[in-house]
């Protein structure tokens, strides 16, 4: 923990030291609002809940989270600070965890700033606040999973654009792995067990399960183990680059 803390603090402060944080938060909130009210017809639905709002989260994260994760390692490599960071007496796992947690905390701040919409539905009607809390938790977990994937990919390159594009592509596959788009490709030849396994990787399925208001242990385990898996991969990638140069 004592190793993670300085890294976390530096990374978290770095978001607010540049316009990045403010631009991101403004766009994030604007996009959330625009989708909810115009695309999702929030008012026309005449239902006091936030299912429309949360329904757009997987798709917004698909582009916004890679924009945060792309710089995590690629930027350090490009500016040479990677050499400084990796020669400081910090275990590599702590650096990986500190960076991830700082980015996650930053997304949590952006997500928390959507609270006016929660107030709005409570003003308009009497929604099930338990469902809304569960949805917020699910949304944050899903953002963490996108972020872990993005962090790992960012470590493989010093080009942020490449990191962004690949992350969007990989996250998209995870997002829709329960949909026919992906499953039809496998259905022709793969055994049923594999197809089930692939569809169980779908972020959408797990997120929708949580946002029904039921926080099932399986969904939590899914997101946490996915995060752990990609952060471990992140450590391995950085370590491999040490010997590859």
């Amino acid at each position: 923990m004592k190793h993670i803390w300085p890294i976390f603090r530096r990374e978290f402060a770095a978001y607010f030291a540049t316009p990045l944080a403010y631009v991101f938060i403004v766009i994030f909130l604007f996009a959330m609002g625009a989708f909810t009210f115009y695309v999702g017809h929030f008012f026309d639905n005449n239902i006091a809940d936030l299912s429309v709002f949360f329904g757009f989260h997987p798709w917004l994260y698909l582009f916004l989270v890679p924009a945060i994760s792309m710089r995590l390692w690629a930027e350090e490599r490009r500016t040479g600070t990677m050499e400084l960071l990796l020669t400081l007496p910090i275990p590599l796992w702590a650096t990986v965890a500190g960076k991830f947690l700082a980015a996650w905390a930053f997304i949590a701040v952006a997500l928390a700033l959507t609270f006016p919409i929660w107030i709005t539905v409570n003003y308009l009607g009497s929604p099930d606040n338990g469902v809304i809390v569960a949805s917020y938790i699910g949304s944050l977990l899903m953002a963490g999973a996108y972020l872990a994937i993005g962090a790992c990919i960012s470590a493989t390159t010093q080009n942020q654009v490449i990191a962004f594009v690949i992350t969007v592509a990989v996250c998209f596959l995870f997002c829709v792995s329960g949909a026919p788009l992906v499953l039809d490709f496998f259905r022709a030849w793969a055994p049923l067990a594999l197809i089930n396994a692939i569809s169980s990787f779908s972020f959408l399925t797990h997120f929708q399960a949580i946002s029904q208001g039921v926080i099932d242990l399986r969904d939590l385990v899914f997101f946490f183990s996915l995060i752990a898996l990609f952060l471990t991969a992140n450590v391995v990638v950085v370590d491999l680059k040490k010997s590859g140069g």
């Binding site: 004592k2 190793h3 803390w5 300085p6 890294i7 603090r9 530096r10 402060a13 770095a14 030291a17 540049t18 500016t79 040479g80 600070t81 990677m82 050499e83 400084l84 990796l86 020669t87 400081l88 007496p89 910090i90 275990p91 040490k242 010997s243 590859g244 140069g245």
Partner: protein, 319 residues
């Protein structure tokens, strides 16, 4: 304090560092020289744990860099090439971050930063973002970061690159001041720097050590070592040249004419000191001497001779 044994680094088919062994003790300031691409930076990156070695081992203060990386890294102050730092932080924030990572807290962290800032004369720019600083200040922020925890081992990749002559002088004094208590490795392209602050010079070429000695020992390898240069009016050229050449201590001469003066450089026979003979000759002949001096040797010439000669030899043996 730094023990390097059989260190090798290959990038694919390319060998950057080849079976390099070196020990640096406390009190030594080792100047690491070599042409671009000779493997200086790669070696430093392996010693500091940024790159993993293909073969060989490095121990810093007894800690193996591979198996006991954190302990080794805690003992090292490292200034990477180009002095990278987080540009969006101010110098103060950056140094406090380093202090915190190095395990200092609260008042002690502040005291450490203050001490490092004083040594590197950064007071004036402490609250400016690093990306707005000039190259010289950036370099000094990097230096401050490296010496902050008063490490027993200092490794600096071109510490004076980009500094003006006054700043270079200050950095050299700083390094000389710390030398007694530490083992220091400095890579540089500036040969006068080696003479000015290093107790030992190692020249590497193509990943291998091609020379290792004190700066004086390296100078002794120069063909200009103890050579004598005498400047005379151009009219005396033929007469003087013949008489200098005939001296027993002189092995050969080199002559250049500049307008109305002629410069004669006399190379000594092995172990001889022609300065005495030549000054006696000049007095005897009542020459109108404009200038007369013996040379300690020229490092740049030694450097060129060693690094290009070896390259040619490798080429020949490969063919």
């Amino acid at each position: 304090m730094i023990e390097i044994e059989g260190l090798t680094k290959r990038f694919g088919p390319y060998t950057a560092v080849s079976n390099l062994s070196l020990t640096v003790n406390k009190g030594e300031v080792l100047g690491f020289l070599g042409p671009n691409g000779a493997g200086k930076s790669t070696t430093m990156k392996m010693v500091t744990g940024y790159l993993a070695a293909t073969a060989g081992r490095v121990r810093v203060c007894g800690h193996d860099v591979e198996t006991d990386e954190l302990a080794a890294q805690a003992a090292i102050g490292y200034l990477p090439e180009g002095a990278p730092a987080y540009g969006d932080m101010t110098a103060r924030q950056f140094l406090l971050f380093i202090a915190e990572v190095r395990g200092f807290k609260g008042a002690e962290a502040k005291a450490r930063v203050t001490a490092a800032v004083e040594k590197t004369e950064l007071e004036g720019v402490l609250d400016q973002p690093i990306e707005t600083l000039s190259k010289g200040f950036k370099r000094r922020v990097g230096l401050a970061q490296a010496i902050l925890h008063d490490p027993p081992v200092l490794i600096m990749d071109e510490p004076t690159d980009g500094l003006d002559p006054n700043q270079k002088h200050a950095v050299r004094n700083l390094i000389r001041g710390m030398a007694k208590e530490k083992a220091i490795i400095i890579s540089t392209h500036l040969l006068e720097e080696v003479d000015g602050m290093c107790t030992r010079a190692v020249i590497i070429d193509r990943g291998q050590i091609v020379a290792d000695g004190t700066p004086a020992e390296l100078l002794a390898r120069s063909r200009y070592h103890n050579a004598v240069t005498i400047v005379l009016p151009a009219t005396m050229r033929a007469d003087a040249l013949m008489k200098v050449k005939n001296l027993a201590s002189v092995a050969g001469t080199e002559v250049t004419v500049n307008g109305d003066t002629v410069t004669v450089t006399a190379f000594p026979r092995k172990g001889a000191l022609p300065i005495e003979d030549i000054s006696a000759l000049a007095v005897r002949e009542k020459w109108d001497v404009k200038e007369l001096h013996a040379e300690p040797g020229r490092l740049d010439e030694v450097f060129r001779a060693i690094t290009t000669h070896d390259a040619a030899k490798t080429k020949a043996s490969a063919a």
